[in-house]
């Protein structure tokens, strides 16, 4: 008689705001097998390119996800712009970058909260989300939407941010930086947090690279991949440091994200000082013909939008390969042999985004 316990973990489960399912096979509390199952959110909207003109598809691309909504929209637009050889005005590039980095801030803060929640640190969750609201306020003031910004379009951006507003934002970031400083100290120094994250879900550098880990998941294992280094948007004009850590455990992944919060703030402030005046969009005519793999760095890692047009208003294919999809194999590896209590911590440590993973 085996001494196993089978726990159907999810899809409806409070630590998983998004539905995935794991068949956990436990011995005592040790996980001997964890078989994931996804597909609960699959909508199939990649196929909507056949029904929506490529210009309207921006709105759908944005709704790939409510967290890096902006980056999805921007990546899609940049992909189309590459195919159609559109040069967007410089100010638009900067604005896209600023919003992208705000997205990262908001996403990382959200993640920190969820992560704290996964190991039962409710106060920390609240604290992280308290700060996050300030980022959302900026979104709402500059784009009109809290989570779905809708400010990107092909050929540029839809809204400008006034320069005095920009400098106000920059000043505001100073106080946010202070609050984030307090928050991240707890994540990085508190003993009970370290107890839950140190040496949990270790992913070696080799595994991280060859299993295709991206983003903080890869960087936490010492793999320095950061697509911002390819210099899309205004990143080629900004100084983007790549944060890595070598342990490959949950703590390292947390460390990377904590530090990235500060680099994002730096990037925004730098962008705000450098942003040139000028138009924010160009007129787009014609239809895309050709294909392109547009890649961008999302909070969770490398995002690939593969777009293929045939000269009509309807694209042939939009294929969105999201960071989480490629982070799933490393996750499966990490879960082997962990404890039941570690499961949510490990799952969250890759910052899973099931919504865009399943499209």
């Amino acid at each position: 008689m085996t001494k196993q316990i089978i726990v159907p973990f999810g899809p409806q489960h409070p630590v998983l705001p998004e539905p995935i399912h794991l068949d956990l096979v436990l011995e005592d509390e040790r996980v001997v097998d964890a078989i994931p199952s996804i597909g609960y959110i699959h909508r199939g909207f990649e196929k909507l390119v056949e029904k929506r003109e490529f210009t309207e598809y921006v709105y759908i691309a944005e709704r790939t996800c409510g967290i890096c909504s902006f980056i999805h929209g921007a990546t899609y637009c940049q992909g189309i712009e590459q195919i159609m050889k559109i040069e967007v005005p410089e100010r638009a590039d900067y604005l896209r970058t600023i919003w992208s980095e705000y997205s990262r801030l908001h996403s990382h803060l959200l993640w920190l909260g969820c992560f704290a929640d996964s190991f039962g640190f409710e106060n920390l969750f609240m604290a992280a989300w308290r700060i996050r609201e300030r980022i959302l306020d900026v979104f709402e003031q500059t784009t009109g939407g809290r989570v779905i910004q809708g400010s990107c379009k092909i050929g540029g951006v839809r809204r400008d941010i006034a320069n005095d507003k920009l400098s106000g934002m920059s000043r505001d970031l100073d106080s946010i930086r202070k609050e984030i400083g307090e928050l991240t100290t707890v994540f990085l120094n508190d003993d009970t947090v370290r107890h839950r994250t140190r040496n949990i879900g270790v992913l070696s550098r080799d595994d991280a690279y060859h299993l295709g880990a991206v983003g903080p998941t890869a960087r936490g294992s010492g793999v320095a991949i950061d697509l911002r280094k390819t210099g899309y948007g205004a990143y080629d004009r900004l100084n983007v440091p790549v944060i890595t850590d070598s342990c490959g455990d949950c703590y390292s992944r947390c460390y990377v994200r904590c530090k990235e919060l500060f680099t994002s703030i730096d990037l925004i402030q730098q962008a705000i000082t450098e942003i040139p005046d000028g138009p924010i969009d160009v007129k787009v005519t014609g239809a895309p013909n050709g294909e392109y793999f547009m890649r961008a760095e999302q909070p969770r890692g490398e995002l690939v939008h593969y777009l293929k047009g045939n000269g009509t208003k309807f694209l042939v294919r939009s294929r969105i390969r999201t960071p989480t999809l490629t982070n799933i194999p490393p996750l499966v590896k990490m879960l082997q042999g962990c404890e039941l209590a570690d499961v949510p911590v490990i799952v969250l440590s890759i910052d899973p985004c099931i919504s865009c993973t399943e499209r």
């Binding site: 008689m1 089978i6 973990f9 199952s37």
Partner: protein, 638 residues
């Protein structure tokens, strides 16, 4: 003169029954003999209670010369037989031990045989004897009755095992007889004789199935108990050297002879007691004895064998009281209690869990007796009573379950409450008896804490008790949880259990509850006078607390009826499964489209409480403690 007849009757009657059983060929005849003799033995034990509870200590002179000789011969015959067996099975440790013991015995007989005078009082009797007699007479014979049905099925299931049931029942009854002899004898030589008989009987019973494992474990048990036997003989020799007239061979005389004289034999005999009670360095034999048919386990664990071990230690408690040697023995019990309670957590074999729990409880008894203050003595006796009843019930329940579901693994007992409701309730009560307030064992635990706190160095034991007690709680509760979990659509497989089994089980279940209810009575009628007579003062629980316990018991009894009065009709929904749909029962479609059965197992925490982890340290610690005791004793001798 009436009581002594009862005593002799109790010793001899099982023997006669045994002989009949040896020759009874038909199952039908055997059945009647067993049932009638069980009735006879039980009834007489009760009679003894009625006749003797107010009598105090009485000794009887029964002329013993002739018995002495017969005993010696029987012992030598057994030794020869064991020698032969040992050689045949290449168990040289047994061979060596048998040779040593026989040599010692012969030497003893040769050098002191002529100097030892005939002891005036070979038999004796006091309240403690009544308690033991009741345990042996009632529980022991109930188990024998139960064994009737059990063995029948046993042989249906195991066609490959030779049917030696005549011999089996013969040995069972001899065992009972020897136990009676053991508790009624005042003559240490007699006690030794009966002692060796129980060792021998258990050896035969453990090896009953004659499989390799059974044989090995039987020899293991034999070797360890023989080790104790050697110590016992050594004690006799020591006593005889002190007083060649052999007057000190009388238990009563020895006990009242004072520390200087009694401590050496006390330690030696208690060492023998430790082996028999399967305390820590020797615990493996009792665990190994699980290969025997379940009634045998029940017998060994509840009313015979191991109880002989603690019986003798309790007898010697007044000598041990306040001595360092006693402390060491108590510590052996304490360590055993703590570690085996923990080890029980890691076991899923029901009989093994029961075995470890037995060892643990015996450990507690030994600890109480080793410290040996009057109130601890009270606790020790209480523990003996409660443990015997609850443990026999549990063993018999497990045996019955095993026959119906074909497994003795706790994990296979899930949902027993649906499959065998009556039996599950009995098991539930039995387990409650082992660890829940206000049942027996917890009363004892409570009394033990209150007693230890007044004893020298009692703090150590209280801490052991606190930690070990919580471990106990863990393994019982999870087992309990297993049997009461309701897995739906299980079939009831309880019908067709034979009537006589039910009778036995119901009686034992009733006893668990009744004894918990009337224990104040038992205490005041039997235990307290006994303690009083030894120590000159006694203990008792306060009346208020007893009332409260009774109240709690009452609550427990009426609580289930609350299910009949429900304000809202409950609606049944499947358990929460993270949103997964249950297809049929306890099934769901999991990842990769695989249909999975919901399986839930208990925690065993092997990495923390496993035998592998705790056994060695425990053994070493206990050997160390025993060694200290021996060194001190050696000091006394020199």
């Amino acid at each position: 003169m009436q009581i002594v007849q009862l005593l002799i009757y109790l010793i001899l009657f099982p023997l006669i029954a045994a002989v009949f059983l040896l020759f009874a060929k038909k199952g039908f005849e055997r059945g009647w003999i067993v049932k009638l003799s069980a009735l006879g033995i039980g009834a007489v034990s009760l009679w003894l209670l009625v006749a003797g509870f107010d009598k105090g200590l009485i000794t009887y002179s029964v002329s013993g010369r002739i018995f002495d000789l017969a005993m010696l011969i029987i012992e030598l015959v057994i030794a020869a037989y064991l020698l032969w067996l040992g050689l045949r099975h290449k168990k040289y440790s047994v061979v060596i031990l048998v040779l040593i013991q026989a040599a010692l015995l012969i030497w003893f007989e040769a050098s002191f045989g002529h100097t030892i005078v005939e002891l005036p009082n070979n038999l004796f009797f006091d309240q403690f004897s009544i308690i033991m007699a009741l345990i042996i007479g009632i529980i022991g014979s109930l188990i024998c009755v139960y064994a009737l049905g059990y063995m029948e099925t046993y042989h249906e299931h195991h066609k490959d095992i030779a049917d030696r049931r005549g011999m089996f029942f013969f040995v069972l009854f001899v065992f009972l007889s020897a136990m009676f002899g053991l508790v009624f004898s005042n003559n240490l030589m007699w006690i030794l004789f009966f002692w060796e008989i129980t060792t021998f009987c258990s050896f035969i019973l453990i090896g009953y199935s004659q499989t390799e494992e059974a044989t090995n474990n039987a020899f293991l048990a034999l070797a360890m108990n023989m080790l104790g036997g050697v110590a016992f003989v050594a004690a006799l020799i020591y006593i005889a050297t002190l007083d060649p007239s052999g007057r000190l061979l009388e238990l009563g005389a020895l006990l009242s002879s004072g520390y200087a004289i009694a401590i050496v034999p006390a330690v030696l005999i208690c060492f023998a007691g430790l082996t028999k009670a399967a305390q820590m360095p020797f615990s493996s034999w009792l665990v190994g004895a699980m290969v025997a048919p379940t009634p045998v386990s029940a017998l060994l664990h509840s009313s015979t064998m191991v109880k002989a071990g603690v019986y003798i230690i309790v007898r010697f408690a007044p000598v041990l009281s306040g001595t360092t040697e006693g402390m060491m023995i108590a510590m052996v019990g304490g360590v055993t209690f703590l570690l085996t309670s923990c080890m029980a957590i890691s076991q899923s074999n029901a009989k093994k869990v029961l075995a470890y729990s037995t060892i643990a409880n015996l450990g507690l008894i030994v600890a109480c007796a080793g410290v040996g203050t009057y109130n601890l003595m009270w606790v020790a006796i209480l523990l003996i009573i409660f443990h015997a009843i609850a443990k026999s019930l549990l063993f018999l329940c497990v045996g019955t379950v095993e026959h119906r579901i074909g497994s003795r693994d706790i994990e296979d007992m899930g949902g027993l409450i649906e499959r065998m409701p009556k039996l599950a309730i009995m098991m539930f009560i039995g387990m409650a008896g082992m660890f829940l307030a206000p049942f027996g064992m917890i009363i004892s635990k409570w009394a033990a804490i209150e007693a230890f706190i007044q004893a020298p160095f009692g703090l150590i034991f209280i801490i052991i008790l606190a930690f070990g007690g919580s471990a106990t709680l863990f393994f019982w509760s999870k087992w309990m949880g297993k049997i009461i979990s309701v897995m739906r659509h299980q079939e009831n497989v309880e019908h067709s259990i034979r009537q006589e089994k039910w009778v036995v089980l119901w009686i034992l279940t009733g006893l668990v509850v009744i004894v918990a209810l009337i224990f104040p009575l038992i205490s005041s009628a039997l235990i307290e006078p006994f303690i009083m007579q030894i120590y000159g003062h006694t203990t008792r629980l306060s009346e208020a607390n007893i009332t409260i316990m009774l109240l709690m018991m009452g609550l427990l009894i009426i609580m289930p009826f609350s299910m009949l009065f429900q304000s809202k009709t409950p609606k049944i929904a499947p358990p929460y499964m993270g949103g997964m749909t249950t297809v049929g029962d306890m099934k769901y479609i999991g990842s990769a489209g695989v249909s999975r059965n919901l399986v839930l197992s208990n925690y065993y925490l092997r990495n923390y409480f496993g035998e592998e982890r705790l056994f060695m340290p425990g053994t070493l610690a206990c050997w160390g403690l025993i060694l200290i005791a021996f060194i001190m004793v050696a000091g006394v001798i020199l």
